[in-house]
Point group: C2
DNA sequence: ACCTGAACACCGTTCAAGT
DNA sequence: ACCTGAACACCGTTCAAGT
């Protein structure tokens, strides 16, 4: 019943030597399960079979740890597909590929994506979620290689990051709502109405009550594809002017 | 040189009686200046001329405080203009109005907007930044009043919130980067190159170095208007099908 | 070289006690 | 009714000391 129930990443036996990379990966694992705020240096140390203070030899404090986690995850984004899949030869295909690559990241780490979305990048002209130098460099190069002028590529970077951030932050929030426990304030006096999981008083908002089924019933995948399609059309229009 | 330099909201003289609303407003004031993370119950108490423990009579802990701040700010969003300005009679005019209303909020509180963007709403079908029951109710009603079917209104709510979140979170991040101090890790050995404010090593990324001026030079206002325009066109197209 | 023990300066939060 | 003092169980982080 205590809080040491989460299985440590390593069994009690031998442990790997500490390294920044190992620390970051275990941190990601813990954050995926509990959320970012609940991750503690002491808990992270324990999961690695080490005292918390040992982490400071590989990581420059908690802020640096979070920065490292964000950087590691963002750098997993692939701008061009790997060997088996051929590189898309049109810019539309490229943007589709990148969009899905980033979406996979958001869906796999819904509890961490808000951190990626809100941490200040190294420079103000870097925009989450494409906020690592390597990734942005590759992205812009890939667009230029497909015929964009530099001004068009820069503009596309801005429009595209806005699109990804809006859609994926909302999608990850929905996914994260189940995983990440939000402590209930407790006690309401009379626990009379046992309204399922969703305890929400819509008496004052009849319009909203009417709309509720419509608001929850929607196809996330399809809407992402549609919005992406609309974005590509818009860019196509701008390009040809 | 200590940390009690920020002027308390009240002069040392007499102070107003404590209330949830006053507490929230002072909290907002402090968060605007220092960022969310740095706000402490003890510091907030001090700014109100009171011990931290006194806050717990009006606010249900720190989480509830943050929730209250988000709720208060989101409820400042006006769906229809007030008395002097006439209500827009088309849905395009309505969405324009709301978009600017939300944008004002983001620009006035760039340090708090990430909190609004990432906190889990009361229900999974509520989407930041339009995440208060009253605001969403009014929003949907306003759309229906302008001829939308309910399905169209619900869909517009989703598309519109995605749009706002993407654009405004990125805009507020740029604004917040100046206000919110990020502690520098310090010491790099040789402090040889005194490169202005922006200390970033682009040697490995020549493409990026080339692009940098293009990436920072852009008109935020104009791009917001253009993107909004494009969104309205897209919705218009969908409507007429 | 890498990790630990003990300590410091903080947190949020509780609760009995004051007025 | 509302606020305070003192205390509890935590934090992140430091630093001298161990091996």
């Amino acid at each position: 019943m205590e809080n040491d129930e989460l299985a440590p990443h390593q069994p009690t036996s031998r442990r790997q030597p500490l390294s920044r990379d190992l620390i970051l990966r275990v941190a990601i694992d813990l954050m995926d399960r509990q959320g970012v705020q609940q991750l503690t240096m002491r808990q992270l140390g324990q999961a690695l079979g080490v005292e918390a203070m040992a982490l400071y030899h590989h990581v420059n404090g908690r802020e640096d740890l979070l920065e490292g986690v964000v950087d590691l995850l963002v750098n997993e984004i692939r701008i061009e597909p790997g060997a088996p899949t051929p590189a898309p030869d049109g810019w539309q295909g490229l943007l589709q590929w990148v969009a899905h690559s980033v979406r996979d990241l958001a869906v796999q780490h819904p509890n961490i994506f808000p951190l990626i979305a809100t941490r200040h990048p190294a420079a103000p002209w870097l925009r989450p979620p494409l906020r690592s130098l390597r990734v942005v460099d590759e992205f812009l190069q890939a667009l230029v290689a497909r015929g964009f002028t530099r001004a068009q590529a820069a503009r596309t970077y801005r429009v595209f990051t806005s699109f990804l951030l809006g859609h994926l932050l909302l999608e990850s929030a929905t996914l994260g709502a189940e995983t990440s426990p939000v402590e209930e304030p407790l006690d309401e006096g009379d626990a009379d109405v046992p309204n399922q999981d969703e305890e929400l008083d819509l008496k004052e908002f009849p319009t909203l009550a009417e709309f509720r089924p419509l608001l929850q019933a929607h196809d996330t995948d399809q809407e992402f594809e549609q919005a992406l399609e609309a974005l590509l059309n818009r860019l196509d229009l701008e390009m040809s002017q």
